[in-house]
């Protein structure tokens, strides 16, 4: 046991690495594939608004704007969200709660 934990031979390292990666290798490859696809796309895209970032600097707090938006333009999603909350609450409670009636 001791022997195994402290062996830093190349073979040992490789074996450990192999054991670590073997079940994960597909996940890693696919995640990297996805990442690279996204990143390539990102790089080859000309993003339009880079210069305009400072515009928002004069009003660092957006809370008011956000609040306004929530209750004016975007009130519908907000309302729907309330139903979402209600139903997920209901669902979560139903699923999680033990069966009292049994």
């Amino acid at each position: 046991m001791l022997n195994k934990e402290f062996s830093f031979t190349l073979m040992g390292v490789l074996t450990t690495l192999y054991k670590f990666f073997k079940p994960r290798i597909l996940g890693i490859v696919l995640a990297l594939l996805f990442l690279s696809v996204i990143l390539v796309s990102v790089v080859f895209t000309s993003w339009p608004a880079v210069d305009q970032l400072p515009q928002n600097l004069d009003d660092p707090s957006n809370i008011e704007g956000i609040g306004l938006l929530i209750f004016t333009d975007l009130v519908v999603p907000f309302e729907i969200l309330s139903i979402v909350l209600l139903s997920s609450l209901m669902g979560a409670i139903y699923m999680a709660k033990g069966d009292g009636d049994e």
């Binding site: 079940p23 994960r24 597909l26 996940g27 890693i28 696919l30 995640a31 990297l32 996805f34 990442l35 996204i38 990143l39 990102v42 790089v43 993003w47 608004a49 880079v50 305009q52 970032l53 400072p54 515009q55 928002n56 957006n62 704007g65 956000i66 938006l69 929530i70 333009d73 975007l74 999603p77 907000f78 969200l81 979402v84 909350l85 997920s88 609450l89 669902g91 979560a92 409670i93 139903y94 699923m95 999680a96 033990g98």
Partner: protein, 100 residues
């Protein structure tokens, strides 16, 4: 000034980490965490774009999506709890009676 590509890159990396977690993890909780990671990667995007587009909609969206993520987590945990109660484990490997 930070170019927006970096924000997007960050979110993409976080998203990919979430994907990786989803593909490799066997524990239900970790899976949930991975999902949260992905949702939040999207939120980073939204906020960054909101800022770069000088449009607050994105930030509102991010807020909503955080709420949704919470709901999702709640349901997810509840389902996992139910499973745990029945099987005593939340190891996803043991949950495959439905197949083929």
């Amino acid at each position: 000034m930070i170019p927006i590509e970096l924000y997007i890159g960050l979110s993409a990396i976080i998203f990919s980490i979430g994907l990786y977690g989803l593909m490799t993890q066997r524990n239900g909780i970790r899976i949930l965490m991975s999902v949260e990671l992905m949702l939040n990667a999207a939120n980073i995007n939204l906020v960054a774009f909101s800022s770069y587009n000088a449009d607050l909609t994105g930030q509102v969206f991010a807020l909503y999506s955080i709420a949704l993520a919470a709901c999702e987590a709640a349901i997810g945990f509840a389902i996992l709890m139910a499973i745990f109660k029945m099987k005593g484990t939340i190891n996803l490997d043991s949950i495959n009676i439905l197949r083929w």
